[in-house]
């Protein structure tokens, strides 16, 4: 049943997945609207892939439910699947087939009509820049090309929602930038809602217009990247003061919300540091000054007390390496 009163494309209600002792996804509720690029940002094991698997009807939740495009994931799984495209964390195309053959097989599986099939395959290949390589077997593709082929495959049936599970994991910096370029182009060209997961801050910051930070199966923060960062009280200005410089004057400046002394440095939380530093420097004598804008990592650090970073036991890299030998 389509519920027209809400403009939310995806509604997640108390979604929970439990594995024996471990709670992979913990009572998660979330709504994602039309044409959003929504980022699920979290460290290894946070539960990102598990959420996507449940929304894609590959995994049954322990409790709770969700609707995708108005279809319930438990009651109408096949309709949910028809209306979404999914790009998995580990590329899943057949190595022995060519890029074109992979797309053709999926176009058939999705029931793409014969009269538009070839056109859609060409358009998808064009969109991800693989037209030249379409007759090559996928085993001859680079990691970045494989990911792009997966995206083409995910788009072959004109889905309303595209899930991208860690689209740039394991790619070198330049392939990662290429991938970002393609994703941004996608957002512009197709009227798509995108849900992507990542544990790279810059990626979420650059691509998404809303971010849910997920940790241990729970959403611990949910907002636009800019507002998440401003949660930390603006920019940080780090001053090394000259001997016996008096800081009392700073307390009366409106642009400064907090003053802390750490390791002989003075840390100021400043609104719009770029514009206000000259003003600050009128009141104190300094040896050095440094200004930083908060990153999403700082947000995560503040919320959880630990930084986001790839954990050694992540397991993903192993899987990724294994993947190369078909």
């Amino acid at each position: 049943m389509v519920n027209p009163s809400k403009n939310q494309l995806i509604q997640i209600r108390n979604l929970t997945k439990r594995y024996e002792k471990l709670i992979a996804v913990d009572n998660l509720s979330l709504e994602i609207g039309q044409s959003e690029v929504f980022g699920l940002l979290g460290p290894n094991g946070a539960g990102k892939t598990t959420v996507i698997h449940m929304l894609a009807t590959l995994l049954n939740p322990t409790s709770g439910s969700a609707t995708v495009n108005g279809f319930d994931i438990l009651e109408d799984p096949e309709k949910v699947r028809s209306s979404i495209g999914v790009v998995f964390q580990v590329p899943s195309s057949d190595d022995l087939l060519t890029g074109y053959e992979n797309l053709k097989i999926h176009a058939l599986l999705y029931g793409v009509k014969p009269d538009v099939r070839e056109k859609r395959i060409s358009a998808a290949l064009e969109l991800v820049g693989l037209t030249e390589r379409k007759e090559d077997q996928v085993k001859k593709y680079s990691g970045g090309m494989r990911r792009r082929l997966e995206i083409a495959r995910g788009l072959i049936h004109n889905p309303k929602v595209l899930f991208l599970d860690e689209p740039t994991l394991g790619l070198d910096p330049s392939s990662r930038e290429t991938m970002w370029k393609y994703i941004q182009q996608l957002v512009k060209q197709e009227k798509l809602t995108i849900i992507l997961t990542t544990h790279y801050m810059e990626e979420a910051d650059m691509l998404c217009n809303r971010i849910g930070i997920i940790d241990k199966g729970k959403i611990i923060a949910l907002d636009t990247p800019a507002r998440l960062k401003s949660m930390l009280g603006g920019d940080i200005v780090k001053l090394k003061l000259k001997q016996d410089s008096n800081t009392d004057a700073l307390k009366n400046l409106e642009c400064i919300s907090k003053i802390e002394s750490v390791d002989g440095y003075l840390l100021l939380s400043v609104d719009d540091a770029k514009r206000n530093i000259p003003e600050i420097l009128k009141h104190v004598e300094v040896e050095s000054v440094e200004a930083t804008s908060p990153t999403l990592n700082d947000v995560f650090l503040k919320l959880t007390g630990r930084p986001i970073k790839e954990q050694a036991e992540g397991g993903f890299m192993e899987r990724y390496v294994q993947y190369d030998k078909h």
Partner: protein
């Protein structure tokens, strides 16, 4: 709602799954060569080796020709059961996940895969039939058609069996178990290499429950004109096994985990 569009889409899906299997079969040269080579080795080494000292006197055919139908079944047993269990690879490399996230029902996936497996078996059997012509086995067009029917039935049953086993297994180590506990017993107990008329009782019981026995017997009937059961019984038993194993496979696919 069964209009022509939804029927076309259904066949497109089966065709897609089948096409993928056939393409992979022709590209994975090592699988093709290995699974054709082994039966040939048996036919020529065992066939000629034992043939020099043994002849199936009651039927007055030489041993190599006598085991030819058995060797055809051998190739079907190996290729079908293995084909089924290659689904473990599909899972390992996540291809299966990409199929399961498409709007395709589990029974459709099962059907498409099974057709793929039957096609592979048929291609291998064709190669063996050509070799058979070369060593002097003769068959009429009718016999050829009957052979194809039996081969497809046996292949359907055993591909279903392989797919069933594969759907429960997650590791490739399980493969070795399939060889030892399924493929070899199915083949050796089928009477592919010996006449089944005068066996000790324990062996006779095992032979009776092995579906491959009936395919071997049917092919001996068709190709050499010497069978222990009637063709009707053989066909009936094979049909029964096909239905049972096909149903089991569909059931297993329905309850198979996607991730």
């Amino acid at each position: 709602m069964y209009n022509t569009t939804s029927i076309r889409i259904y066949f497109d899906k089966i065709y897609a799954l089948w096409l993928r299997e056939v393409k992979v079969f022709f590209r994975e040269k090592s699988r093709l060569v290995a699974s054709t080579f082994t039966p040939l080795l048996w036919l020529f080494v065992i066939g000629s080796g034992f043939g020099s000292s043994t002849s199936i006197s009651a039927h007055a055919v030489d041993y190599q020709k006598f085991i030819f139908p058995g060797i055809i079944c051998m190739s079907v047993v190996f290729s079908s059961v293995f084909f089924g269990s290659y689904i473990i690879w599909d899972r390992k490399f996540d291809f299966l996940k990409s199929v399961m996230v498409a709007p395709v029902s589990r029974s459709t996936i099962f059907t498409g895969k099974t057709f793929g497996g039957m096609t592979n078996s048929l291609i291998q059997v064709s190669i063996l039939l050509i070799v058979g012509l070369i060593i002097g086995v003769q068959f009429s067009p009718l016999a050829l058609v009957q052979t194809v029917v039996i081969v497809l039935l046996l292949s359907f049953a055993l591909t279903s069996l392989g797919l069933t086993l594969g759907s429960y297994m997650t590791s490739l180590e399980g493969f070795q178990m399939i060889v030892s506990f399924v493929v070899f017993p199915l083949f050796f107990l089928s009477g592919a290499l010996f006449p089944i008329d005068k066996l000790p009782q324990w062996l006779s019981i095992l032979t009776t429950i092995d579906p491959v026995t009936y395919a071997v017997d049917a092919l001996r009937n068709i190709i050499l004109g010497i069978g222990s059961h009637g063709l009707g019984l053989d066909l009936g038993v094979l049909l029964l096994y096909s239905c049972a194993l096909g149903a089991l496979g569909t059931y297993s696919f329905r309850r198979m985990k996607a991730v």
